[in-house]
């Protein structure tokens, strides 16, 4: 096991990792930017090191400074959390060269699953269900049109090097396809340094269902079932839950096993999430693989009773998986609501400033993941998520009631948050029925 882990992240996920390390008996080094100076969670680390100015490029994205901090603190491993450098294969390589363990996959495995075209090819070889579409990047406009003719409109154009909803465009016919293609290629080249695009069938009413996988360095991989993350706005998840409502047990089993095959085939170790879209007939098509721990990982921890962050650290240290597939059992239902510092009434405008009143919910089955305390100043430099409120209960209806109860207790003032929106969603008929699609929230907000 490592002696000292440096956490190359901030906020709630940094706190999550600090907690896991303390429970494992591993020392922690937190790095922080000037914008995060004085943040209360920093004192929970054994050491903290200022690495630069507020802008992420000067701090949390600055590889040289993070590695220097690891060197002067004698950290033997780095946990990248999510976002920032978590899916940066170059960073993973620099860690390896500096003989610091990157808590995540090897740069090679990360690149293999991170590149959408390469990942699709590996998926095909391992019978992981895919969208009908081009066999890889489209060579030219005519090739794209031929593919679209075969699979039928509407189609979606995606950047091979993109992700998280960026660099995508839907085309309903040949004209918009040709026009969209040119634009997409230009944008992709500018944004990701790679103009390759591919074409997939576009599903109009789909649910986002993802499978959590954990793998060790000894070839073992285990899935922890799925999460349904269909409540989204502009491709950003707002609510996640597990298990996915109404999913047929056999279909679930098939897609989870497929995710495990893919992760094994990439010689991957660590935490990975294989994302799918599920159509109304419960056919799955793989979207992409996230080669890191995800924001919503606690949803899975609640229904399985397993600790994903600790397991990541253990497997990175060379330990075998602490549990086998047969040890994974699902109990009850869990829901997560992301608490963002946003003003829903003003089109989700970020709401920065000092939180003068912070009264978190509690009681049975409530888990709050946040670094925020009374008096905390939300810095303007980073994303607006200030916490995650989770509940766990015996079944979905009870979990929704519990979430509603917890949301009512939760007071954050004076900044605006998504708490009121979540309260509305817990009362919404469609959400209560379950199985909403990925455009549900946007339709609801338009009303």
């Amino acid at each position: 096991m490592f002696s000292r882990i440096l956490i190359a992240n901030r906020g709630e996920i940094a706190l999550r990792i600090i907690r896991a390390c303390r429970e494992l008996g591993v020392e922690t080094v937190a790095v922080y930017s000037e914008a995060d100076r004085g943040a209360p969670y920093l004192r929970l680390a054994d050491q903290s090191i200022c690495i630069g100015g507020g802008p992420a490029s000067e701090s949390y994205l600055n590889i040289a400074r993070i590695i220097s901090a690891a060197e002067i603190s004698n950290a033997d491993a780095i946990h990248p959390g999510y976002g920032f450098l978590a899916e940066n294969a170059h960073f993973a390589e620099v860690c390896r060269d500096c003989r610091i363990e990157f808590i995540g996959p090897t740069p090679e495995a990360m690149a293999k699953l991170g590149d959408k075209v390469a990942c699709k090819q590996l998926a095909k070889q391992n019978k992981v269900p895919l969208f009908p579409g081009s066999e890889g990047a489209v060579a030219d406009e005519d090739a794209a049109v031929a593919v679209a003719k075969k699979i039928g409109y509407p189609v979606i154009i995606k950047a091979a090097a993109g992700g998280g909803g960026r660099g995508m465009r839907v085309a309903n016919n040949e004209v918009t396809l040709r026009a969209g293609l040119r634009q997409a290629q230009q944008e992709a080249a500018a944004a990701f340094g790679n103009g390759s695009v591919f074409i997939e069938k576009f599903l109009e009413r789909a649910r986002h269902v993802e499978v959590q996988v954990l793998a060790d360095k000894h070839g073992e991989a285990v899935h922890l079932c799925e999460r349904d993350c269909s409540v989204q706005r502009r491709h950003q998840k707002l609510i996640e839950e597990a298990p996915g409502p109404g999913i047929d047990a056999k279909r679930r089993d098939e897609v989870c096993k497929a995710a495990v095959r893919l992760v094994k085939a990439a010689k991957y170790h660590g935490a990975a999430t294989v994302e799918f879209l599920m159509d109304e007939k419960q056919n799955f098509s793989m979207l992409e693989v996230n080669t890191r721990v995800q924001v919503e990982h606690p949803v899975t921890e609640l229904i399985t009773g397993l600790d994903i962050v600790k397991t990541m650290i253990r497997v990175a240290a060379g330990e075998p998986m602490p549990f086998k597939q047969k040890d994974v059992h699902i109990k009850g239902h869990a829901i997560e609501c992301r608490i963002n510092a946003e003003d829903v009434a003003r089109n989700f405008a970020p709401s920065a400033g000092v939180i003068t009143r912070f009264e978190p919910p509690g009681g049975p089955g409530v888990r709050l993941e946040t670094h925020v305390v009374t008096g905390y100043r939300v810095p303007p430099n980073y994303d607006s998520m200030i916490g995650k409120l989770l509940v766990h209960d015996d079944d979905r209806a009870s979990a929704i009631r519990r979430m509603d109860r917890a949301l009512r207790e939760f007071i954050i003032e004076p900044i605006k948050t998504t708490i009121p929106l979540h309260r509305d969603l817990m009362s919404d008929a469609a959400f209560n029925k379950g199985g909403v699609d990925i455009h549900y929230l946007e339709r609801l907000l338009k009303k």
Binding site: R65, S68, I72
Partner: protein, 151 residues
């Protein structure tokens, strides 16, 4: 950590001038002192953000900024994370010491990171009053290395 004597002075200052809230900020820490309400025995509420130096024990580094600003001392801070060296190599004398005169281009120390040795320049003019770090010690971004009395 905040100097206790200084803290007492500040509390005295607040009480004498009937101040209800005082906030002090410097490179290392922020101290906020709030006096209780009408009650004569109101205990001041003190919240000090932790000194975030690598050594969690008592700080051997800079005194609170208020004093330095008043005295006209300007800090030279580290622009990077790494290990501080006061001399170009173990055999040579230090770049600067207390009493040295510096100008903006004067190299005052080296900070080493990932085997790369970077020369740090004074970027100010004056006389070195205090050397705050020992050679071989780790330094973080923004950490005060020297105090210079402006020319």
């Amino acid at each position: 950590m905040v100097d206790y004597r200084r803290l007492k002075e500040l509390i005295k200052l607040m009480t004498e001038n009937d101040l209800s809230e005082l906030e002090l900020r410097d490179q290392q820490e922020t101290v906020v002192i709030k006096r209780g309400g009408a009650a004569a025995q109101g205990v001041p509420y003190i919240a000090a953000a932790p000194a975030t130096a690598l050594r969690p024990a008592a700080a051997t580094d800079a005194a609170p900024g208020v004093e330095d600003e008043e005295a006209g001392l300007r800090p030279i801070v580290s622009p990077m994370v790494g290990t501080f060296y006061s001399a170009p190599d173990p055999e040579s004398p230090a770049f600067v010491s207390v009493g040295s005169n510096v100008s903006p281009e004067t190299v005052v120390c080296i900070v080493e990171a990932m085997k790369v040795f970077s020369e740090i320049k004074a970027e100010c003019s004056g006389r070195v009053e205090k050397v705050l770090v020992k050679s071989g010690e780790p330094v973080e971004y923004g950490q005060r290395l020297f105090l210079v009395r402006a020319a």
